[in-house]
Amino acid sequence: MAQYDTSESVRDSDEFIKGLWRENPVFVQVLGMCPVLAVSNTARNALAMGLATLFVLVMSNAVISLLRSFVPRQVRIATFILVIATFVTIVDYAIQAISLDLHKALGAFISLIVVNCLILGRAEAFASRNTVGRSILDGLGMGVGFCFALLCLGAVREILGSGSLFGIPLFHEGFQPWVVMILPSGGFFTLAGWLLLFNRLEQRRSVSAPAAAEALQ
């Protein structure tokens, strides 16, 4: 996991923005892969999962940050997990109440938000060391970044795999869907594709930065 700058000199808005792109939890840190791959077969499922994770992340970051001076170091992980599990149970019942179809489509993966390494990772690396306000901002940033990544994957897989987006057909009837994209292997390939794109961008930036500096001199 990358090192985080926890010094006070970092502006509050940075805590939010870093999760969106520079330290994007999925594309850059490669955390929380299981739900990303499992429920991204349609854009709708991906968005629902992203929002559920966002909620749990923000709430658990806030509570853990509040508790940070009361919890002894030895039992911190167990405490974090219990806090996270409580919020996940709330989300699980809320989704069941809002839309039973969605609850069936996401299945056990809502409960599995508990073991999403992203949430525990943020609790340990950020919320247990920072003030409540900054922890909430960090949770929001990371959560929105996670949501964005899930949506990227879900959209690609749904467009190619069933020729639609959010259930609305995009192509005319002659379109032959790529069945592999809906299947589990499609998840691996799509994520690999996005990571390749990010690596390429990163490479180009690191190549062009020194070149630009030389040109200035």
């Binding site: 490669v30 499992a38 699980d92 409960s111 599995l112 508990v114 073991v115 589990p184 292997s185 994520l191």
Partner: protein, 193 residues
Amino acid sequence: MTGDPLWSIFVNACLINNFVLAYFLGICPFLGVSGKLETATRMGGAVMFVMLVSSVCAYGINALLVAIDAPYLRLISFIAVIASTVQLVEMFIKKMSPALFRALGIFLPLITTNCAILGLALFQTNKGYDFPQCIAYSLGAGAGFTLALVLMAGLREKLELTTIPDVVKGTALSLILAGILSIAFMGFAGLGG
């Protein structure tokens, strides 16, 4: 689902609906510990044991929670049991084989956040398996996890010796490999129900 014979549950969990390649559970250790064949095998063994113990415990807890009519406590009690089982395994390995303990390193405590284990506990409850079926299911899932991990580790050891473009190195390459493995495992789909 309750009438399934034990062998079919085992084969189903191990090959057809492989936890890593079909359900995407336990991807983090799958990508993290699959660098070396030997570590992968031992990690698989540890996960298998934790799966078996937590599956038995989850069966008991579920029966108890149904009896006292408190299903909303299920998730919290499952995760608490898994965390303590992992702690137990950690102490056991530390005592019995310090070398193995060092080889597994940080990934041993991280078994707690391995979604394959919590997923197993949740799936067996959702499917309403009885006690022998739970054991067959957990053994199958453990064997499937180990199989996927070992296959991946073997492939990655081979790839160490080849030349690959810089862009693909790292996680992207592992994911492409996993995708191909996943397609290969789909070939088992005709084996059972």
